[in-house]
Amino acid sequence: MTSITWRTVSTHLILIAGTLFMGLPVWIAFMSSTHTAETLFRDGLQFWPGGHFFDTYSAVLFESGGVMKSVTGSRMLFNSMVLGVGFAVGKVVISIMAAYAIVYFRFRLAVPLFWIIFMTLLLPLEVRIVPSYEVVSGLGLLNTYTGLILPLIASATGTFFFRQFFRSIPEELLEAAQLDNAGPIRFLIDILVPLSKTMIAAILIIMFVVGWNQYLWPLLMTTQEDHFTIVIGIKQIYQVLSEGGELPQYQKAFALVMLATLPPVLIVLIFQNWFVKGLVESEK
């Protein structure tokens, strides 16, 4: 086999090195999570499976006091899921409606309004976090799902993507729909949304991952354990687990990290095809 040249070998070596570099920490975290607190304390990080996978994971997921003072890991997973899904769906819905208004309705301020929306890219949450907190607490929305999701769902990027996409749809489709007795809402639901299907899927996936990984806002917003997301859980677990002079429960922390990583990875793996399609091609 002369086709295996030095070149292919070297590129593969580089790729393998990169994969190890990225994958090894995850592997170590996963393996360490299957050992007992004593082993970890005595021998440090573990590279090979221990025998305590079920003990640790069931304690983290289902036992009250297993990981936090009262809330269970599954509850935090659920909270994260609510945030991720609410965040993604909210962003897509708001962006589609904003882009629809900007592209299809002739009102005088459409262009300046679009640029104002676009300029909010310069004001990410981190910059406006104090006023946002003030507003949400004034509305009495602290420690609620609404308060968690609502301030995050306006999306300039999403609006921009949908605006560009809508503008590429031939105008005759709108006119044909007008003659077919389809009003503005019918046109949006029957024609625009189906045409943007792949685009919507791609944005949903990206936004779900972004929402899932939100850190600063949930940290500020949620003071009660039962609204903690799993990302906040990771941050809090060290404080909780090392209280009272016991052995630090590092295996539980690692388990929680694994659990937090899993859903976004699964979503991206499962919907990979849609995701690529939405970014690369447009069905027209």
Partner: protein, 356 residues
């Protein structure tokens, strides 16, 4: 089936462009009217005003005697076939055709019946489950027509529906459109820039130039008796031969010759002499001399092109002669031409008005 009446219709855009200028028109029940003109002449705008896709700045459009200026496009009961078909790409052919009916609240059974009947008429019944992307250009064209026909509208509007098809298919679809329109007897307005398409399809033809209707009439009327220079030059292929001319007391001076038999023409104004290619003939004592520079042999007849001396300009004018006989001339030959004075037309060059 309906009548369509346009009175004093004007379209001005906010940027000041005056696209349609005072159009008056009466279209009888079941007629196929063709708007023809160069691109940008306002013919599509006028059609879109009838459809309700453009607002009417001034004047009135009435269907069956009822004013529709303020009626929304969907309530005008008109159907339109677009140049790029504008089929909904994500819907099957069936859904494409049914969409307008469903939106009008027609019961499902009836919708199915209507769509099936129409698809049979257009011979697209085997494609009902396909999406537009899986169809050829001609089939898409048929679906677009089906979507218009299925609604059984009062008026059909066609906006250059054949310009995306290849030449052969265009001729076939043209015949088909004509046949369908005859069968269904629906009043139709058809916009095209192709004068051959216009001539073959139209019951009546409206030649539009710079937002105005230059002349309206049957295709043969417009061909034989154009009222303006523009109509004469637009209708007919190959184009009418136009030669700069001046009236003098001895006769008409044009193409390097003095032509008798034209009386009562105003002197001192620039004129245009127009003679159709088939009205020019060879004759040994003919007054006009050309030197042949191109011969097109089309089978049944031949086109002979040659340069003739122009009035004042240095550049010679190219004229075309249609001959039904076998042409024996070679390129470079000098040929004398003759025409019947009765069949020639004379226009004022500045206003375009026809004098003879």
């Amino acid at each position: 089936m309906a009548t369509l009446k346009l009175s004093g219709v004007n379209k001005r855009y906010p940027n000041g462009a005056h696209a349609v200028r005072g159009v008056d028109m009466d279209i009888a029940e079941g007629d196929l009217i063709v708007f023809v003109g160069p691109s940008g002449c306002g013919k599509s705008t006028l059609l879109r005003m009838i459809a309700g896709l453009e607002s009417i700045t001034e004047g009135e459009i009435a269907i069956d005697g009822g004013r529709i200026n303020e009626t929304s496009p969907s309530d005008r009961d008109v159907a339109m076939v677009f140049q790029n078909y504008a089929l909904y790409p994500h819907m099957t052919v069936f859904r494409n055709m049914a969409y307008g009916l469903i939106n009008r609240g027609i019961p499902k059974d009836e919708v199915r019946q209507q769509v099936e009947k129409t698809s049979k008429l257009l011979r697209i019944e085997e494609f009902l489950d396909r999406k537009p992307a899986q169809l050829s250009g001609g089939q898409r064209q048929r679906v677009a027509m089906g979507r218009a026909i299925v609604r059984n509208p009062k008026i059909f509007l066609f906006d250059e529906p054949l310009s995306n098809l290849d030449a052969k298919l265009r001729v076939r679809m043209r015949i088909e459109i004509k046949r369908l329109q005859r069968e269904l007897g629906v009043t139709s307005v058809y916009v095209t820039h192709d004068q051959v398409e216009a001539m073959t399809l139209a019951d009546r033809l409206a030649v539009i130039n710079e937002g105005r209707v230059e002349q309206m009439g049957s295709p043969m009327e417009l061909y034989n008796d154009p009222k303006t220079l523009f109509v004469a030059s637009f209708i007919g292929s190959p184009q009418i031969n136009l030669m700069e001319a001046r009236a003098t007391s001895e006769g008409l001076r044009a193409a390097g010759a003095l032509l008798p038999g034209f009386d009562g023409l105003p002197q001192d104004v620039p004129l245009m002499l127009g003679v159709r290619p088939e009205h020019l003939g060879e004759r040994a004592d003919g007054p006009i001399e050309i030197s042949v520079d191109l011969i097109e042999k089309l089978g049944a007849d031949s086109m002979v092109y040659g340069a003739v001396q122009n009035m004042e300009a240095d550049e010679p004018k190219e004229i075309c002669v249609r001959s039904e006989e076998v042409v024996k001339h070679q390129i470079g030959d000098k040929v004398k031409l003759w025409f019947d004075t009765d069949r020639a037309m004379v226009f004022r060059e500045d206003t375009g008005e026809r004098l003879i």
